[in-house]
Point group: C2
């Protein structure tokens, strides 16, 4: 390709690296942007440049934001006595969308994994222990994924946090879930944790 | 959401408007970009800004490029006597990837459609007729999609282009195609156009 279409090719190559997009859908996306230049491409270019310059990790909790302390850590409305531990920023966003938690967060950045040689120091676990020791945290809620690695990490953290109340999300039948489509593990967990009506 | 995460939210909303992405995959894409800031987000922001500023339609053929005359129309290596008519820029790109055609293109920008009230003047058909009349075009190859609207458009253009050789892409079994999975129309077309070995 010649110089003048090189930028277009570069754009397609970069877009194709995004999760969920391949070369074909990247081309479609770029053509769509070219068609909607004023409404889509220019605002996207502008916003992306701004975010690329300003985005950073919150030094306290690991959330993504545009300053050294994120909005949630800064907010005086959030309960400082409850700390919710999540694996990833996407999990934090999912919790926020549910809107059920009014405390603060701590993003680990992954899970312990013997296979991938991820130990406590590769995650933000030391920072978590320091936060709990130094701040007035009364309850640590472990909202880790219900995977093997997630649960291993949850048990490790619970062991380290003696003296503080440590809880984890309930396991059971998801709302709207049909028993016929659920795995055995979920049904077993729901059965063991059954409640009287 | 507060001001400082507004840019992130805007970015997610804009990404979600791209074809193939929804709110969920837009969030994943943005988090991926945040993680790969130097390798992915900054180059993407830079390239997108450049393209948004420079991209334009070729005044001759309707291809997308960064100058008023696209690389293909400018190239002295392309055969000027053959003109390939396609519906959309994505079709032109598909033809170029196949690398089988060495002439020039003409992008219609859609097909005639009675239902959507698209007539010849909504497409680049007048420009096509002018190009064929003024330039030294000896063959017009109609590479329109094998849809009802595509074929209607092909017949309309062929009618308008008396005196020039007008051809269209062959129809038949695609390479690697299994008969069992082909529709009746394709098999009928392939049967009618059968060739002696």
């Amino acid at each position: 390709m010649t110089q003048s279409t090189k930028d277009l090719d570069d754009l397609i190559d970069l877009m194709a690296k995004l999760p969920g997009l391949g070369p074909r859908s990247a081309r479609r996306a770029v053509l769509q942007m070219v068609k909607k230049r004023a409404l889509l491409m220019k605002p996207l270019a502008q916003t992306l440049s701004t975010v690329a310059e300003t985005v950073r990790e919150c030094l306290t909790c690991g959330n993504v934001g545009t300053s050294d302390t994120c909005d949630i850590c800064k907010s005086p409305k959030r309960n400082t006595t409850e700390l919710c531990v999540v694996e990833d920023v996407s999990d934090l966003w999912a919790m926020e969308r549910a809107g059920v938690f009014k405390g603060r967060y701590h993003v680990l950045g992954g899970t312990l994994s013997a296979l991938d040689a991820v130990g406590p120091d590769e995650l933000r676990i030391p920072q978590l222990l320091r936060r709990v020791a130094e701040d007035d945290v009364q309850e640590v809620i472990l909202a880790l994924n219900a995977t093997m690695d997630g649960q291993t990490t949850a048990h490790y953290i619970a062991d380290q946090l003696a003296g503080v109340r440590v809880t984890s999300l309930a396991q059971g039948v998801p709302i709207g879930g049909e028993l016929d489509y659920l795995d055995d593990g979920t049904i077993t967990a729901a059965m063991k944790a059954r409640k009287s009506l």
